[in-house]
Amino acid sequence: MTGSGFWSVARAVAWRNIHNFFSNPALAVPALLFPMFFFTAFAGGLSRVDQVPGFDYGAGYTTFVYGFVLLQASTFGGIFTGFSIARDFESGFSRRLLMAAPRHGGIIGGYWLAALTRAVFTVTVITVVALIAGLEIHGSGVDLVGLYALALLVNTAAMLFGTGIAMRLRTMQAAPAMQMPAFLLLFLAPVWVPYDLLTGWVQTTASVNPITLMLEAGRGFLAGDPTKVLPAFGVAALLASVTVLWARGGLRSAERAA
């Protein structure tokens, strides 16, 4: 079996998933709507928070919030792809796919390409809205490459995490098991204020939350003051590696059940 078998499966799966995403508003709209809600509510409703003593982020509150929403959109772009996989199992499509595909790894590859496409679309729309709303990017081109590369790594890890769950449980009822850990990790990070201004148990949790590192690195790129870049990429790459194994285990479980 050659690599072309892998890519032909990946292309077909990706095309179908991307086509479904863009032709079904019930899939595309929530993916856009939720990050937009958060961006609007935080950047608009909380903008005065940057006047709190100790809030030391030079690029402004809209940019500070954009750093979070970018990561959120990337994460949920991956998680929502996990939902699509679960839906494909419920409809019986995945069972047929497992029987027909010459390289099963290509199935995960296809969903990964779809997740990246969905994330790029969502992030593009949110970035345009954020620019209109006053997003200030102080970082250079290289910083932006770092920012979006980090976002895509997070998207990949989230997609692989969702894939592992969807392929093991093979039902849409698994959605909360994909969504809740992602939601908790995201919101137990310095979402509204810098880490130093967090208090109580949220600060303790944020100190060991890997999302904190990525959020701070992302905001550093936006402010033109890269910070914690290597640890952030290291943790993101580690998460992606671990979730690759998790997704492969899920695929094996699905193969046994098919």
Binding site: T40, L46, V49, G54, T199, V202, Q203
Partner: protein, 260 residues
């Protein structure tokens, strides 16, 4: 049809509505857990906002305690709408239409489930808020008024959920409008007092948004004590919403029964 028959019809349907709601942990538990989770995260994550000049309290927990009551009501809208949609999809409403049941009994019966869920939510949120150190400035009587207002808010949003279900006949449509309810909460004075919202358009939207006044009425009882104006506005907005939603849901029920 006499009053005792109507009361019996309401009682039977109310019992069914309450039992059905309480037997669905997937409806009850998230409506308690998610608002409390958000409260826990917000109160720690945004505590530094209390250092802003003009912030009404030095505890963000006290400020944010109003949010779960409205957020819980949004879950009531979802569960009420889903229950009504299930009745339509399963044909239960069709079978009821063949009986001498009065529409008002059906509507009042459906509301019982919303109110029971709303009562559990309100008591839970008050108890947990107080247990974690948020005093209620208006005292025990104030806590009772919070519960009463919370029930009116649950009723209002629950009736909107029922209206959507009766109008469309599907649970998917109810799920589809759920994000709009959240938009109403997010575009309000949820996170900061209106006078501290810096962005002009956001402050304008929050000022026109009735959810702001519901939050501010509860907040006034928690933070400042008895504030007649805030309470009047809060009850007027919640009651007005409930009344409009009741009229709309009644009209949709009439249409739905005629189709049957």
């Amino acid at each position: 049809m006499n009053r005792s028959t109507l009361a019996l019809q309401v009682a039977v349907l109310a019992r069914r509505s309450v039992v059905r709601t309480m037997r669905q942990p997937a409806m009850v538990i998230p409506s308690l857990v998610f608002p409390l989770l958000l409260l826990a995260i917000n109160s720690s994550g945004l505590d530094s906002a209390t250092r802003l000049p003009g912030f009404p309290t030095d505890s963000y927990l006290q400020f944010a305690l109003a949010i779960p009551f409205v957020q819980g009501a949004l879950f009531s809208a979802n569960s009420a709408g889903t229950n009504v949609a299930n009745d339509i999809e399963s044909g239960f409403l069709n079978r009821l239409a063949l009986t001498p049941l009065r529409r008002v009994a059906l509507m009042m019966g459906q509301l019982a489930g919303i109110l029971a869920l709303g009562l559990i939510q309100a008591i839970t949120f008050v108890v947990i808020g107080v247990a974690f150190g948020s005093g209620i400035a208006a005292g025990v009587a104030g806590a009772l008024v919070i519960v009463a207002l919370s029930l009116v808010i649950s009723l209002g949003f629950g009736l909107i959920g029922a209206f959507v279900a009766l109008r469309t006949g599907t649970g998917e449509a109810v799920q589809g409008v759920f994000p709009l309810f959240f938009a109403a909460l997010f575009l309000s004075s949820m996170a900061l007092p209106r006078n501290l919202i810096e962005t002009d358009w956001f402050r304008t939207v929050a000022t026109w948004n009735p959810v702001s006044y519901m939050l501010e009425a509860i907040r006034s009882l928690v933070i400042t004590g008895w504030d007649g104006e805030a309470l009047a506005l809060g009850f007027a907005c919640a009651g007005g919403l409930a009344l409009v939603a009741l009229l709309a849901a009644s009209s949709a029920l009439r249409t739905q029964m005629l189709r049957t």
